[in-house]
Amino acid sequence: MENTVSLKINGIPVTVPEGYTILQAAKQANIEIPTLCYLKDVNCIGACRVCVVEIKGRRGLVASCVYPAEEGMEVLTNTPAVRKSRKTTLELILSSHNKKCLSCPKNNHCELQKLSLEYNVDEDRFSGDEEFPEVDDKSPYIIRDNSKCIKCMRCVAACKNLQSVSVIGAIRRGYNVHVGCAFEESLNDAPCVGCGQCVVACPVGALTEKSQTDKVWDAIADPDKKVVLFTAPSIRATLGECFDMAPGTDVEGKMVAAARRLGVDKVFNMNFTADLTIMEEAHEFVERVKNGGTLPMFTSCCPGWVKFLEHYYPEFIPNVSSCKSPQQMFGAVLKSYYCEKEGIDPKDLFVVSIIPCTAKKFEVTREEQFALGMPDVDVSLTTRELGSMIKEAGIMFTGLEDEKFDDPFELASGGGEIFGATGGVMEAALRTAAHILDESLEVTDFTEVRGQKGVKEATYTVGGVKVNVAVASGLANARRVIEDIKSGKKDYQFVEVMACPGGCINGGGQPIQSDSVRNNVDLKALRSEVLYTSDKNNSIRKSHESPVIKTVYGEYFGTPGSEKAHKLLHTTYVNRKK
């Protein structure tokens, strides 16, 4: 049994495991202490001083997010001194904050705004006269507005600790401290992978995705455009959160209904191209294994991961599967097969993807992927952007009746469904690869690669072939795996990487829950549960068994890895500078 300590918080006795902070202990007494710079699993530096509390017998106030609970300690979280300090801290932050709140993308979801209201601050009490810094909006995916930044360093911690990318950091010191890239470069020019974990970490409006909803509205309004929209596997598990539904609610039917009400012509299911990716990728893997190709093979569906590898480990480019991501495959299928089938000029087709990701906004601009001389996907929107469009359109999401995706891309396998969670791509691929290697096998569940661990490993022997697999989510974990491969410490044949910890369900484009939820609830587990439940209930579990897949290959691509498939569904990569 682990050691415990007993203490009193506001007179309430609590007993907590040794090593708990006051902040954690307070929760056991049902006391919520406000925080700004603290973010569970990401940042814990005691810097903002909003979470200060009093300890009896100790001078001054301490930051509860970092102060360990000690035996016999008496903590007071709600004294005049504590309230006054929090209020003054907030007023100081506001004195250098660009208080253009009405039009701020984080209005109503801003942690600073929420606390300011709670603590009844005077926002102009210590007003400064400093000029606001410039906005960096050069990248196609993220906007950094340092006039809103409160220097909590959550984005820096996410970039460094979760992702080991460390492309942003604290610059200079004192009042001049600010977050940015080296030599004040734009994110666009720095080796940023675009994962958006910084955006999700930001408690205020300093980091937001570059919104492209206007482009979609314009296309919808354009009578010459046929607008098709498809949603990534994880959107159904998270979109409800934009409408205050509980995390972990499956809203697939409402999502389809709402998307249709936006006025798009078709709403498709991207799980189909998840299946398609598996078909191509599993075949590619088997080919590599059989023909002595470069191993281990890395998955390629995550654009943050791919860009990471291009910047930081270009020597491993031959290891990356040549498969485009499901988003790009879908775009290519729509502008080729679908247009041919429906008699549409691809130029008139406007493809919108709903993706839980900011890096996808970069992926759609990759010219080496333009199979038809134009972008496969025209606009890639985050879950948050879809949520805001639905609100803007006045659609009462929670009351909608469930609807189904449109034909011909309605159905998909359970393998496609779990693509949105770490281990999902690997499991789906294994289901199909196992079938290719040994058709008699009836394995479906590869549970070793499921769950929220940063790196998962397993060994399978199928059809006489022994395969060591690794699954990493979060780029810091991916880096560990690559370094282990480089040093020869590990021998893998197949590696799945998703840039965001937990996979797409925790992507940089997902709804941002308030700190009080995130610091207490395991969002990743709740959201991925939606996908695995749906997989379990799906009558088709394996990608190669999906009827849509069979049709598309039958009517168009022939076999996986065919020439046509290569032209439209595969791609090449770019060696980028660090």
């Binding site: 460390s166 492309v167 604290a170 610059i171 200079r172 004040e184 720095a190 660090k578």
Partner: protein
Amino acid sequence: MEKKSVHAFNGTAEQEEQLKAVIREHHDQPGGLMPVLQGAQEIYGYLPYEVQSMIAEGLGISLSEVYGVATFYSQFSLTPKGENRISVCLGTACYVKGADKILEAIEQKLGIKSGECTEDGMFSLDSTRCVGACGLAPVMMVNDEVYGRMTPEKVDEVLAKYMNNDKAGEAQ
């Protein structure tokens, strides 16, 4: 925002070799970044983009971390210094004896502010913390030479020494 160094980088191959040696020396030392930055500044006189990139690459850390450290400490400079580096001590002992007036006089004379470099690159001016010559307060330094018991009037005299030298240098 200006990207990278405004001044053209004129590093030589010899300097690069020296830097590489410094990086090698500290590569496996825990916390080696600071000594490397200090060594690099000694070699190049400042820490431009190119130099910090080599350091980041050499030590296997991100450029933004190198830059974060380089901009945290006041000893590190991102811009080249003047041929003659003037510093005026603004430590307490000097301040209460009027060091701010010395600084002002130099600023006026050279037409630059503290932290800047004259256009011809001859002088750069900085205010520094205590240089430890409190007995001579107020104190200014040009390169390694200390000038104590300064008055605003004496500024001209001190600067003239270096200006004449420069002119003599130009004439040659």
